[in-house]
Amino acid sequence: MFGNRQFLILLFAALAIVPAVANPYILYICNLGMLYIILALGLNILVGYAGQFALANAAMFGIGAYGAGLLQVKLGAPYFLAAPGGAILAMLVGTIIVFPALRLSGIYLGLSTLAFAMFSQWVLLHWNSVTFGGGGFPAPHLDLSPLPIGPDLGIYFLSWIVTIALVAFAWSLVRSRIGRSFVAVRDGEIAAQSLGIDLLRYKGLAFAISGFYAGTAGALYAPLLGYVSPEGFDLFQMIIQKSMIVVGGMGSVLGSVLGAVVMVTVLELLRAFKSTQEIVFGAILIVFVMFRPRGLVTLLQRLPGWEEPLSSFDSRRMLARAAAHVSEPGSPRYPAGRDLVDESRP
């Protein structure tokens, strides 16, 4: 019948014919939407699967964009070297965060990575000799000159290919041994360790993959926008990405895609009003956390004829049910969102 895979194939098929029918503005929005799909996937692997509540994704996004842009502008590297350079730089910086993450969890990790994100934004603002300071710098558009493709279409199709590749990678990653280890770490670090899962290795992997995704999105963002400046990677960027995975569904590849598409649409509809954007985003976040903590993806799964393979999502539900069964009567039922967090002090 119809399931995750068909949904994604239809979505990307639709995105492939967008350039033929859409105006440049719609093209830009669809392109931006794909970058947010990448960002939401990276964040969801880290937060939704591996359970590491980190708030530094916006900074990794920025590092990827700055890395790709500066390698071109300062060192004259061609884009196809600079872009992986930016992504790998973000991956390396992201991996460094694993060291605090080994000692911290839950809100402590969240707030220390938030401090790290603010710190890196401060560096972007004040390291004038390298980053051009608060004004930012123009990044070159994508030039595919031998090919008869303009920069707008070029970056669009490059993003399309990269997004598909990264969705496919995430898809198989979360079903692999690594993905299952992430879920084990999320659901109980000590239990995971007792099963022989090396925390340093798997947390490090989760941070590295997430950093690479965010950095890749950044490396695509620089030529798409043609300009790189620190404002794009601030606190609001962080909440945009966070709300995407909350709205779409934590711990779900399809949820990341869905959340990115929905939230980019909302964002663009409200583009003109910063205050309305903030109020709407905040309200959406609260409403989803309160009333639909598993995200929009649960609505899709209820459609008649929707096929959902056994996934980590189901096993989690079963675990929750089992836990509710064994817990003492009168104690709060096993909470739906608690598996996202390790409540121990750092």
Binding site: A115, M118, G282, V289, S344
Partner: protein
């Protein structure tokens, strides 16, 4: 020496305000084990409410202060009652996400109601802005008022926490909510008061601070992160720790701004947060850290 004394004075003044906000963060943290991300934005809203009463409607300063504190109390209670209570069972990250959502709602509301980004609203000073000399050290009278006000709020809060029934119920709930419930403490109501009082303290800090700084919708986050640094430095669970931590952050900022560079001033609190959380998560006053399995 002159410069050191000046930095000391301004560091203690801003530090006292950070201490007040950190106090609210710590009170809420002790009760719920979650950090209220919106705390700084509640502070900011308190400042704007006082601005509305005092500057736009011309009410006396003290009346505006009391009204803003009352409004903060009501907002905090409402936020707990409407959103956070339902999330307590869902875990800490849910509460943190909801407070992030609340923080953006408040910020957007402030932007919509009191002006756009970059509108820095001046708040008239209470005292003569001319500095007075204390044994060769120049002090701005406003700073003394702020310091006295902050100390007064802290003293009132300490007395409340120690000597009133509600204060002791809050302590009991923070220590062990289940046991508190068993001995008949209305835990849910205590949580409402905890959020309300935390917010009220933040609003009092905002009204004290408004005359020496400017008000703008984004001040909330800046203040939150600095005060959080103070709370973390104090161990997050210790109320004296929050006060000392807040003062220390004020001093660190003033000294690094004065002797190194004003750019470093902005970043010092981030560095403190990262350093303390990673290397000494129990802070200066927190108890030993237990790991729950």
């Amino acid at each position: 020496m002159m410069m050191f004394a000046y930095l000391l004075a301004s560091g203690i003044t801003t530090g006292a305000l950070y201490a007040l906000v950190a106090l609210g963060i710590t009170v809420v943290y002790k009760a719920t084990k979650s950090v209220n991300f919106a705390h700084g934005d509640l502070f900011m809203i308190g400042g704007f409410i006082a601005y509305t009463f005092h500057v736009m409607w011309g009410l006396p300063y003290v009346v505006s202060l009391l009204l803003a504190v009352g409004a903060g109390f009501a907002i905090g209670a409402a936020a707990e009652r409407i959103a956070f209570r339902r999330l307590r069972e869902q875990g800490l990250v849910s509460i943190l996400l909801a407070t992030i959502g609340l923080s953006f709602i408040l910020k957007g509301t402030a932007r919509a109601v009191w002006g756009g980004k970059g509108d820095f609203i001046p708040f008239p000073p209470l005292a003569n802005p001319r500095p007075i000399s204390f044994g060769g050290i120049l002090l701005v009278p406003q700073q003394l008022i702020v310091l006295a006000g902050a100390l007064a709020v802290m003293a009132i809060f300490a007395a409340f926490f120690k000597f009133t029934k509600l204060g002791r119920m809050m302590q009991a709930t923070a220590d062990n909510a289940k046991a508190a419930k068993l001995v008949g403490i209305p835990v849910n109501r205590v949580y409402v008061y905890t959020f309300a009082i935390g917010t009220a303290i933040a609003c009092s800090a905002a009204v004290l601070m408004a005359p020496i700084t400017l008000l703008y919708p984004d001040i909330g986050f800046v203040l939150f992160i600095k005060s959080f640094a103070g709370a973390v430095l104090g161990g997050l669970t210790s109320i004296p720790g929050a006060v000392v931590g807040g003062l220390l952050i004020g001093l660190i900022e003033a000294m690094s701004g004065g002797y190194i560079s004003t750019n470093v001033q902005d970043v010092s609190s981030y560095i403190v947060i990262m350093f303390v959380l990673v290397f000494m998560p129990q802070g200066l006053f927190g108890g030993a850290v237990l790991r729950r399995v």
